[in-house]
């Protein structure tokens, strides 16, 4: 049973710092060997999870949701009203999407998602977050100078575009719905999904690349 005692927790952290070699790969192996030995985790399930996150749970899911929202107004209305419910159409519900909100970019508003306090992310539709999303640099700067951050990602904004940074501090998670690019009229959902970048659903990409067509 967890003690919920912060003084004790801080002391254990200091003891681990002192008594454990700092190599992270060795530390993770140590953790794995201990939890397997204590029967807390089946060793085979670790491999299965690794495969699930490599092959199945990733940003292609979010891209399918966006492509459908672009082409199916009835779905889009449901997605904007309650994204957690709407993604169940695809079976994409899961870890950290119980309170999902879809936020839409417009001609006059750009949206950017960050978690300044930790690393909250809608895992079941976007997969593992990129390392930069979890970096101190992004967490510190996205709320204070979002325009400079966007410029580093190569995003240019028209003059009348406001920027809203969504700092997720509770269990509410966000997916940005980027604007559908011009010239994609008549494309089917698969073709549209292929141009929806992971970063555009976080908000660090804005004008999607249609492959020069």
């Amino acid at each position: 049973m967890s003690t919920y005692d912060p003084e004790k927790a801080a002391q254990i952290h200091r003891d681990l710092h002192t008594h454990l070699p700092p190599d992270p790969a060795l530390r993770v192996k140590t953790l794995e060997s201990l939890v397997v030995e204590r029967g807390l985790v089946q060793p085979e399930i670790v491999d299965a999870w690794v495969e699930a996150y490599s092959e199945h749970i990733g940003p292609k899911r979010g891209a399918q949701v966006v492509a459908r929202a672009w082409t199916d107004p009835e779905f889009k209305a449901r997605l904007m009203a309650d994204a957690s419910e709407a993604i169940k159409d695809f079976g994409f519900e899961g870890h950290a999407t119980g309170h999902l909100k879809a936020i839409e970019n417009t001609d006059t508003q750009h949206n950017l998602v960050v978690c300044t306090l930790c690393s909250c992310y809608p895992f079941s539709i976007l997969g593992m977050s990129p390392a930069w999303y979890k970096s101190s640099e992004y967490r510190a700067r996205a709320v204070r100078e979002p325009r400079k951050v966007l410029a580093e990602f190569g995003v240019t904004l028209a003059k009348d575009v406001s920027v809203r940074a969504w700092d997720s501090t509770a269990e509410v998670r966000y997916i940005v719905i980027p604007q559908r690019p011009a010239g994609t009229e008549g494309w089917d959902q698969d073709r549209l999904a292929a141009i929806v970048s992971r970063n555009s659903m976080i908000g660090t990409d804005r004008d999607l690349d249609t492959g020069g067509e």
Binding site: Y4, R27, T116, G127, Y133, A140, R164
Partner: protein, 217 residues
């Protein structure tokens, strides 16, 4: 808690590691760490105790360890705290690492993905009291947070914002970190950038946060 985790608006950081940090995982041990985490949530207490554990890390380690290295240190701490093993056990295991022979039957990835879908946990709670604020209301955040786990970042304290969404009552993170499950009304509040960062900030821009009712004056 005013520790180094509260990074929003801190200055002095350089460029975002966009290219070098594009991948979610860059080492096998990171993938395994994530997989272990997914299997150990039932043994490590509440989600907010997990987050508070990260905040309680040795400050120098928090700022220098790679992301999943922090998670490893934290989960070791949480399991030691919960009595599954000791710091000495961990130090010994690190010394004599041996490979275990896998036993038992691995679940198929299809089974796993099916189980994954039920992880979309609902954090809402039914409350008898009515929310104090309505959409469009101005709210003022408190000047101080307590030294436990809180989701009111330093940059948004003693600031005025506007309610843009009401989410119903959600489990209050501050209490969750103490192992309690209390609900409180939760709102998304929008702050004008100059209110947070001063007059240099772009008046067109806003920052939103999810804030519980007790974070307001």
């Amino acid at each position: 808690m005013d520790s180094l985790h509260d990074l929003g608006g801190k200055e002095g950081f350089g460029p975002i590691p966009i290219k070098s940090g594009d991948a979610g995982f860059s080492h096998e041990w990171e993938r395994r760490m994530w997989a272990l985490n997914l299997n150990l949530r039932g043994n490590t207490g509440s989600i907010d105790w997990f987050r508070h554990g990260l905040e309680l890390m040795v400050p120098k380690d928090y700022i220098t360890y790679a992301y999943f290295h922090k998670w490893c240190a934290n989960i070791l701490m949480l399991l030691i705290d919960a009595g599954y093993f000791t710091v000495e056990d961990a130090a010994k295991a690190a010394k004599n690492l041996r490979n275990q022979d896998p036993t038992g039957k691995a679940p198929s990835v299809t089974e796993l993905l099916e189980n994954y879908r039920i992880r979309n946990t609902d954090f809402t709670v039914t409350l008898d009291t009515l929310p104090r604020f309505a959409l469009g209301d101005a709210v003022q955040t408190k000047r101080f947070a307590h030294s436990g786990h809180s989701r009111l970042p330093a940059y948004a304290r003693n600031r005025q914002g506007k309610v843009i969404t009401y989410h119903g009552a959600h489990l209050l993170a501050d209490d969750g970190a103490k192992g309690n499950h209390l609900g409180e009304h939760l709102y998304t509040v929008s702050f004008a950038a100059p209110e947070l960062w001063g007059l240099d900030a772009d008046p067109r821009d806003t920052v939103t946060l999810e804030l519980w009712e007790s974070y307001f004056v």
